[in-house]
Amino acid sequence: MNTGWWSDLRYLMRRYPLGVGGAVIMTVFVLAAMFASVVAPLDPFSTNARASLAPPGSKYLMGADMMGRDVLSRLIHGARISLAVALGATALGSGFGAALGLASGYIGGWFDLIVQRLAEIMQSLPLLVMALVITASLGPSLGNTIIAIAIPLIPNVARVIRSNVLSLRELPFVEAAKATGMSEWRVAIVHVLPNTLAPLIVLATAQLGSTILTEASLSFLGLGVPEPYPSWGRMLSESAAEYVRTAPWLVIFPGLAISLVVFGSNLLGDALRDALDPRQRD
């Protein structure tokens, strides 16, 4: 049992070294986020006027910000916010998108037509523009940021799942299920839905990175997650242009954290696509 698990892992590492690397990066960030209060060397909220803009050193490994707060500790706690927003938005958007795509592909007819037109309308606005307008309308809060990033994801997921459902619907096993007298809805949920899981997982992982980037952009523009949450994008907006001259560590480290976690999710997403859904390979 134990050896089987190990040999599986060794096989994965040989076959998808980059994907395993991505998974490791993601795991490190998720663990850091989960155990933030244990891992973080200092209190991310405690201010210290004497340490204002302290450069990286032995006490403040990645320096301190304007208010003398430890950058490293804020980054570790910020991982909670950034990952919570990314996972929440991806789950919400993919869930709604998948339900809509399944219904649209399965029911067809006028319902499908309406969903398609709505998707087209939503896709005529860039992701960030739509997220900006939605946050502007709902007001800045953690929950609203998640909603604002999730909604623009829906049409894309709905379209991919719909086209999957359209081809699945014609397959013999679905017809066989219908022939046994199963109701349409049971066939849809018990037989069709599980078969769309692979493309859904691939799509969701691919979108994880873009949700993190969108959250960062929103917070950078001051319209994302509000204070006192130390989101990574927020840390950059507080420090942006003026600290480029005076305190570069305030710019370098949060950006590095964002890039690294998105890099990890991209590596993982590519490997999952190769493994689960070879047809989507671009």
Partner: protein, 315 residues
């Protein structure tokens, strides 16, 4: 062809109509308008004066009437007045469009000029260290927030020149122009470049396996001839798609990059308008963005037909 075009144009009008309703309602879901903001921030609590502002701006009319006013004006080229500057919206938006347009064009140019050749090199050298290095490079391009890349570039400017490029309507020298528009364009375009590179690589690899490429090789054509005449031309199709898709993504990058480099274009202006709840400005800017995206998509679909004669629409 003609009937296809007409159908597409009708769909375009329908989509834009949908966008207009969506944005109009979205901006009015939550209570709180410009009058509230002005009064909250100024601390004035004279209800009569507030009421006057509300009725001057037409905020007390019913939603369908407000919508009809807006769309009616829009169709006549009258976009209303900005709540904040009190100037006509058109006068505020129009001068900013060329600035963003130039930046976007330069960014796309940069993306294509770097992405396509690097993608070809990566495909031809498949599974060598060069290929791996290029793939890692493009993946990191897709992982970096473009505003952070912009900030890093500013940091390099501070380090090497002791100053950062400041936007100037009429730059004095060529180098000033490069620093002012070229550098931000590269910062925005890097992401698109990485995407184009990935796509060029994978579609090149696909095409290089085809029979006609083997035929071209076996009849003695040089490797360069095969790569450029036969393979690259056929690998361009998905690249054109991605350029179409990227135009929408690019706008997101432009918003943050114009903010970082302090460029007074339309993209950054949208964020300012949103902060001020300047409804007429936000509505019209969003309509403008949607119009650009839909038009680019149409142009890309038409381009397809010229690049790939097998594609015929509407039959």
């Amino acid at each position: 062809m003609l009937s296809y075009l007409i159908r597409r144009l009708l769909l375009m009008v329908f989509t834009l109509f949908g966008v207009s309703i969506a944005i109009f309602l979205l901006l009015r879901i939550v209570p709180g308008n410009i009058a509230d903001i002005l009064f909250d921030s100024a601390g004035m609590i004279d209800p009569a004066e507030k009421q006057k502002i509300v009725s001057d701006l037409g905020l007390d009319l019913s939603l369908p009437v407000q919508y009809a006013h807006w769309i009616g004006g829009l169709l006549h080229g009258d976009l209303g007045y900005s709540y904040v500057s009190e100037k006509p919206v058109l006068d505020e938006i129009l001068p900013r469009i060329p600035i963003t347009g130039r930046l976007a064009a330069l960014a796309l140019l940069f993306a294509v000029c770097t992405g396509v050749p690097l993608g070809v090199i990566s495909a031809v050298q498949q599974n060598t260290w060069l290929d791996y290095a290029l793939r890692l490079f493009s993946l990191s391009g897709l992982s970096m927030p473009s505003f952070w890349l912009g900030l890093l570039i500013l940091m390099a400017f501070v380090h090497y020149f002791g100053t950062i490029p400041i936007y100037d309507r009429a730059p004095a020298t060529f180098w000033a122009w490069v620093a002012m528009l070229g550098v931000p364009a590269a910062a925005v375009g890097f992401r698109s470049s990485a995407l184009i590179m990935r796509l060029t690589r994978s579609s090149m690899l696909e095409v290089l396996r085809q029979d006609y490429v083997r035929t071209a090789r076996s009849k003695g054509l040089s490797e360069a001839g095969v790569t450029f005449d036969h393979a690259l031309r056929n690998a361009m199709l998905p690249v054109i798609t991605v350029i179409g898709v990227e135009t929408a993504f690019l706008f997101g990058g432009l918003i943050v990059t114009e903010t970082v480099f302090n460029i007074p274009g339309v993209a950054r202006f949208l964020v300012e308008a949103i902060r001020w709840r300047d409804y007429p400005m936000v509505q019209n800017l969003v309509m403008f963005i949607a119009f650009v995206v839909v038009t680019v998509n149409l142009i890309v679909d038409i381009l397809y037909m010229f690049v790939d004669p097998r594609i015929r629409y509407g039959q």
